[in-house]
Symmetry: C2
Subunit: 407 residues, 2 copies
């Protein structure tokens, strides 16, 4: 019998408890021993739970119990999860987590503490919910130099964008619907402003490069400014708009990483990912494009990934899994102003075209009606800002500017 | 330093050697020791290879070398790979392979020998080339009861079908093109008749159910009878035709497993997988649909998966990875005649419709011209054969019958 604890009994934590009690035999067959939930840490009471006798509000009961070898941290947030995780790893317990905020903010430090204490810190559930991605990247693609990771990493925003494209809804109505369906929180900022996606692309980029990429250094743009006009024009250009987290290793060793809405061609692998689904494309030098697709959130999918890490920890109580990245000052992150991209521009008058062509050279004209919509060639973000400034000085207004995926 | 051997220096084997020598530092950082290729077994001579001094024609030099701990078997075929693998596992060496034919035919026996000798037998490369699928299914989805696996598992046939759909080519021309491009062998039977896909769905089903599913017991139909008319009519029905390997666990515990061309709706995740790409959808009770997508064949993608298994074996020289299925008499395989499906029928005359409706009840009429094309409701394969017989007794000829994906 291997004794474990679960910290947090919310959406994910209750799913973890449900899987471990409900799939007891399947897990026994794999691990060779029973996985026994000894403690569940939560400040709330759950008198009707079949595990009611295991609940505690006292973290020390878990920390000081030498028989508890593996702890699932599914509380979310930085505090107190960070202090708890540190203490548990130092006490020789393996910790597995779905807490992307913590992994993105403190991963390097926690991985180092895990290494020093010869235990595991695993976080399959922190990216892509139930989609296997951390372990495949870390193990199956180990032979690859990863040149680019590009993903739809947030189901809420993808649901909203799908509703805008497929059902013609406007942003506010689609957000409201997402809230009604439980896909978006009452305060949806972390999703719609791109912060959630940013944490995830940072985790994947840290894994691929071996150096911690901190979210605070990453350009992050959400989808709140996408309008129905943009949707219409994107379709005319044969594209959809997706919120993309992208990390690309440039030839000079710099990492071009950002989260932004992007126009992507309808035939690309990410274009057909709809609703709350996530998709992550990893480009390795041996494998070329590999894609992982599935439900990126939700109680059971995310809990499924947490349990996979619990099982892996049980298999490796005496041996560390190789999952590591070093701390970094992020000197290798390309300043966003130097990031190169083609850009979709929506301008308030079709008469702007000559001025646009003067500034951007040849452009693809998508719409020339009461407005002008074009796709330019590739420039640095800095150059694009400068040219937009010039254009606005000529009296035109740029209503939207959205990155366009390289062909 | 961990010493390894590679058996076979063909398409995959030469890729393995190339990755291990070319990505030496990356692999050292992961394993903590150098992976050193001590021997390469091949009957041919490679005097110009930078590894020319490592080649041997003598298997015993590998078998009897106690310093060689891990062997990559990338020879293909059953003999002598089977005998070699058995001998190596019994000698306490871990074996990793891309040999789907051997894993599908002898997996249970070889996994048992590996278990008895406390070594690993790993085969990530046997399904989906460079796409991570075996390890994700085995580890990341460990908490799931897998209810269904459905995949495009053969790149050659998917290339041919893509050319038929997107470029209007006929089967023979598309096959010839695939051969010219090196995607199909001179003798393409294993691909176009579905045997390659069958081995792969058997491996995945064995992994999901824990019981060896033998290819010889599985209904396998290739794509040689798909005509341009079928392509045209499928498009009219909003579908594409894909060669699908499917394994579905029924409520009664039986496994409905087959390889067959199928009409699938254009919006489904597998419909947009084109050319030589593979895609595998795994349906777990916790995760729902998860899809894996990428290049299913080729030297470097497949070698990448072999190297991942070599690395995993190096991490686990003293511990077995949990990857196992038991032998089975396949009593749990549903007889194909009892498999239920809707079916697309192409019949030589539009006048057959009343008779078709008499036999099949309400049908969806796709085409009524010089021919009749319909999609029926669900029946067992046995019932469908019976009704087709009846129809032909009435003087009509059924020109095509193709399974249709359940809506």
């Amino acid at each position: 019998m291997i004794e474990i604890a679960i910290m947090g009994h919310g959406v994910v934590g209750s799913g973890v408890a449900k899987i471990i009690t409900g799939h007891k035999k399947r897990l026994f067959n794999n691990v060779g021993e029973e996985i026994y939930i000894k403690r569940i840490l939560d400040l709330r009471e759950f008198p009707d739970s079949p595990l009611a006798d295991r609940f505690t509000k006292d973290f020390d009961l878990i920390l000081n119990d030498v028989e508890i070898r593996v702890v699932a941290e599914v509380m979310g947030g930085i505090h107190p999860a960070y202090d708890y995780t540190k203490a548990l790893l130092k006490a020789g317990k393996s910790v597995v987590t779905s807490n992307k905020e913590l992994v993105a903010a403190k991963g390097a430090e926690l991985l180092e503490i895990a290494r020093a204490n010869n235990v595991n810190y695993l976080f399959e559930a922190s990216v892509g919910g139930g989609i296997p991605i951390i372990r495949p990247m870390n193990q199956c693609l180990v032979a690859n130099d990863v040149s680019e990771i590009s993903g739809i990493l947030n189901g809420t925003t993808n649901f909203i964008l799908t509703k805008m494209f497929d059902d013609g809804m406007d942003f506010d109505s689609a957000l409201k619907l997402a809230q009604q369906l439980g896909y978006a929180e009452r305060n949806p900022a972390a999703d719609i402003e791109g912060h959630d996606a940013c944490r995830k692309i940072c985790i994947l980029a840290s894994l691929a490069t071996g150096k911690h990429v901190y979210p605070k250094n990453i350009y992050t743009e959400g989808i709140t400014r996408i309008t129905n006009r943009d949707v219409l024009y994107a379709e005319k250009a044969g594209c959809v708009i997706k919120l993309i987290g992208n990390a690309k290793l440039l030839d000079n060793g710099m990492l071009d990483i950002y989260v932004a809405p992007m126009l992507i061609g309808k035939d690309g692998p990410l274009a057909n990912i709809k609703g709350v689904f996530n998709g992550i494309v990893v480009n390795g030098d041996c494998t070329d494009e590999v894609m992982f697709y599935g439900k990126g959130a939700g109680s059971m999918p995310t809990a499924s990934a947490v349990v996979a890490d619990i099982v892996d920890s049980c298999h490796h109580l005496k041996q560390r899994r190789f999952l590591f990245w070093a701390d970094s000052n992020n000197e290798n992150i390309l300043p966003h102003s130097e990031s190169r991209t083609a850009v979709y521009l929506r301008i308030d008058s079709p008469e702007a075209l000559p001025e646009v062509e003067k500034l951007f050279g040849e452009v693809e004209v998508i719409v020339e009606s009461d407005e002008l919509a074009v796709i330019t060639g590739e420039f640095t973000v800095c150059e694009i800002y400068g040219k937009i400034d010039e254009l606005e000085k000529s009296g035109y207004k740029v209503l939207s500017s959205i990155r366009v995926e390289a062909k």
